[in-house]
């Protein structure tokens, strides 16, 4: 693992290439399509033993956790490599709740017993977490917080409802934003505690589950106080956006490979369908979209690590690009497979549902474009505008 910064943007190190191979192999062994289907139709929706091995044997759940916090001290790029490969197979498990959001939030919070107690088991894969913070288009909005925090001496209790929390149904720990007497803070709630009620929802994407979380005087511990909660949650959402983008890239690459193979092998009218330009040109456009998505996602993970770009802008560029690319590539995958692409048995539907789900999480492409417009167009200068001929 790279122990400091990744030197050159877009260039993976030898260790990172090895990491990619290891995660790919693990995913192939533990989450082939059959396994994914079996897990998505059973509870808790993922293989808890395999998840623990991802944490302890492969050590890929908290790659960017600093060494002094019990991690391996890698970079966000290392974490991205792992997430990309897990995304390629739709690896069932709380990648979104635990790896993309909870661990980055905890890493950003200031040191304390609660943090170290929570972080270790999450990184080890022996416990999982979900983040119950309603975002507005991938950004934190304290006004949107729906949970109240009450203090009694050193103890806190939380009450309120958070809708549609990804990975919450099976989570051991819940990170919840709640409004207390001094403002919004981030708390940890043990999911098995009294006053915690989780209602699993039937999700469009069965491999990425959600639950509605109802808290009634549930005991909670403070993770980040009002002085830092906004920064901590904001950081988690930006990192989560970048990692979600990388997941979208991994899945898109898988679909392009799959569809190219199909177009080479499927014969109609006495020729491979990939020799028809209507098919070939659509595949070429899928390739372009994928290349753009990959560049935007990698830029975000590198820029968040080395500070070379405004994090919010880099994350929005990645999300706006990757959400559209994955959704379009998944739709085209169905189209280019003809009738079989529309069946339950074929894998295209699984990826399509993930694409639609990912596009809606942490802000839609449209919402991210609106943010880009504010950051880029509103600050642009009219200097150097081309002359307009006036006849």
């Amino acid at each position: 693992m790279a122990d400091q910064q990744d030197a050159r943007p877009f260039v993976f190190s030898e260790e990172q290439r090895e990491l990619r191979t290891a995660v790919r192999r693990f995913a192939a062994d533990n989450a082939d399509e059959q396994a994914v289907r079996r897990l998505m139709e059973s509870d808790p929706g993922f293989d808890t033993k395999a998840w623990a091995r991802l944490g302890s044997e492969l050590g890929v759940l908290g790659l960017s956790v600093p060494e002094e916090q019990g991690g391996v001290g890698g970079t966000l790029v290392d974490q991205a490599v792992a997430v990309e490969e897990l995304g390629a197979t739709l690896y069932p498990g709380p990648v979104f709740g635990t790896v993309a959001l909870a661990i980055p939030a905890l890493v950003a919070a200031s040191d304390g017993p609660v943090r170290s107690e929570l972080l270790g088991p999450l990184v080890e894969g022996t416990r999982t977490a979900a983040v119950a913070v309603a975002d507005r288009a991938g950004a934190f909005d304290p006004a949107a917080v729906t949970v109240q925090a009450t203090r009694a001496g050193d103890d806190w209790t939380l009450s309120g409802t958070v809708e549609r929390v990804v990975d919450a149904a099976a989570a051991d720990d819940l990170l919840v934003a709640a409004t207390g007497p001094d403002g919004v803070a981030l708390f940890a709630v043990d999911a098995t505690a009294g006053g915690v009620e989780r209602t699993p929802l039937t999700t469009l994407d069965l491999t990425r589950r959600q639950a509605t979380l109802r808290l009634a005087d549930a005991p909670a511990r403070l993770v980040a106080g009002p002085d830092e909660a906004e920064r901590v949650i904001g950081h988690a959402l930006v990192v989560g956006s970048a990692l979600l983008a990388v997941e979208q890239v991994g899945a898109s690459q898988h679909l392009l490979d799959l569809t190219v193979e199909y177009a080479k092998g499927r014969l109609q009218f006495g020729r491979p369908i990939g020799s028809f330009q209507a098919v070939k040109h659509r595949l070429a456009d899928m390739l372009v979209d994928l290349e753009h998505a990959r560049s935007a996602a990698y830029h975000a993970v590198w820029a968040l690590g080395d500070g070379s770009d405004d994090p919010a802008l880099a994350a929005s560029i990645a999300q706006a690009t990757c959400s559209e690319a994955f959704a379009r590539i998944a739709a085209d995958t169905i189209q280019l497979h003809g009738g079989i692409g529309f069946t339950w048995e074929y894998q295209a539907q699984l990826y399509y549902k993930r694409a639609i789900t990912d596009a809606a999480l942490l802000g839609s492409a449209e919402q991210h474009r609106a943010r880009i417009a504010r950051l880029v167009l509103d600050t642009a200068s009219g200097d150097g505008a081309p002359a307009v001929a006036t006849g």
Binding site: R294, S295, I372, V388
Partner: protein, 397 residues
């Protein structure tokens, strides 16, 4: 090889050139000669031939320093020379003396280069071309007609693809040459384009003579040599600048900023989409530069050409839609030559009309999608009516 060490070597050389030949003071040619001598014209070329023998990804290090100091964008001054001729000459010219003789004045822009590929009967199907070259002792005698030849009227030298064996299948019977555009038997006639100007030409070759020493690659190997040229052409045309917000998209964004009275939410999202596409392509070019090796560009360069061309059109369509009735005027349709000066792209409406050519020149977008599908993704080729036939038996028209 240490990239960091190479990178600082390139940066040091660039700073030295800028110090000793301030581009805002010395003539352009003198500045570009200094760049060539310092190995900064094409950093991945060998030393002595305008390069330093380092990774081509480091070109952006040199360009950044040279252009920040006010240096010109040499590609804009001699596009075919810099983008296509140089890599082809470097790889295929017969001797180092010839390479040096051609490359240095090319780099200084003293000698402009053009490309004699397309013909009335052979555009996308370049390998079907009919211009013939027949051996006569130490020379070749060339006859035929070329068309759409950009800059032929200013060029000193041309890259020529000609047929040397009409009995072979079409890709096999081609040979590649360098032609003296000022020699006898070469006649250039301007062609007017829809902008009103004459940027390209017809070129008639009547018993034009080429010394065999000016052949690039083996006899019959012209197609392979031409691929060097075309892959480099595609990776050098593109809309995205190397810094965020530069390149064609800057025209739309600055026009937008200068006309708040015309803003609507629908137009704003349209412009944001274009900005995002330009940025994604810019990052993609940066990524492919970062991961590039010393070798030439691969077919992936076609992504940049395809996206850049379509983006150019969309950017100017946006500008015209933003302006509405104000846009439907023009400055001057008088037929004239295009001076490649700083504002050679002219007013907005001229840029708008010119962008129609972007998806045709340097390989049409249809051809590029075929290339991406077949060369990058490995999809099966089209059915070909001409496969394996001797060239002279293939129907044309």
């Amino acid at each position: 090889m240490s990239t960091a060490a190479d990178s600082s070597r390139v940066a040091d050389a660039a700073r030295k050139v800028v110090q000793e030949h301030d581009p805002t003071r010395v003539p352009t040619r003198e500045f570009l000669a200094a760049c060539f001598d310092a190995g900064l014209s094409w950093v991945h070329f060998p030393e002595g031939l305008g390069g330093l023998g380092v990774s081509r990804g480091l070109q952006s290090v040199a360009d950044g320093i040279l252009q920040d100091a006010g240096g010109p964008v040499p590609f804009a001054l001699n596009p075919i020379g810099y983008g296509m001729a140089a890599p082809t000459l470097r790889e295929h010219a017969q001797t180092d003396e010839l390479k040096r003789e051609w490359l240095r004045p090319l780099a200084t822009t003293e000698n402009i280069w053009c490309q004699l590929f397309s013909e009335p009967g052979a555009g996308s199907d370049l390998a079907g071309l009919a211009t013939s070259a027949v051996r006569d002792g130490d020379e070749w005698v060339v006859n035929g007609q070329k068309v759409w030849t950009s800059l032929a009227h200013r060029a000193r030298w041309a890259l020529l693809l000609a047929r040397t064996d009409p009995d072979a299948p079409k890709h096999k019977g081609l040979t590649y040459f360098v032609v003296d555009m000022q020699g006898p038997g070469v006649e250039t006639r301007p062609l007017r384009q829809m902008t009103g100007q004459a940027e390209f030409n017809e070129v008639y070759l009547n018993d034009a003579r080429i010394p065999d020493a000016h052949r690039l690659g083996a006899v019959g190997d012209g197609w392979r040599v031409a691929m060097t040229t075309l892959m480099n052409e595609r990776s050098s045309i593109g809309a995205s600048g190397s810094r965020r917000g530069t390149g064609t998209i800057a025209d739309a964004v600055s026009l937008w900023a200068s006309r708040p009275d015309l803003h609507t939410p629908v137009l704003e999202d349209r412009l944001t989409k274009l900005w995002l596409r330009a940025e994604a392509q810019r990052l993609t070019s940066e990524r492919s530069r970062a991961t590039a090796t010393v070798g030439g560009p691969g077919p992936e360069g076609s992504v940049g050409k395809l996206v850049g061309a379509e983006l150019n059109q969309q950017v100017y369509e946006f500008c015209m839609d933003l302006l509405g009735p104000e846009g439907i005027l023009y400055d001057d349709y008088t037929m004239r030559d295009m001076e490649r000066t700083d504002d050679w792209r002219g007013p907005l409406q001229q840029r708008f009309l010119r962008s129609r050519a972007n998806t045709i020149e340097g390989g049409t977008s249809e051809v590029l999608r075929n290339i991406l599908g077949e060369r990058v993704l490995g999809l099966p080729g089209d059915l070909r009516a001409d496969a394996g036939k001797p060239w002279k038996e293939i129907p044309r028209g």
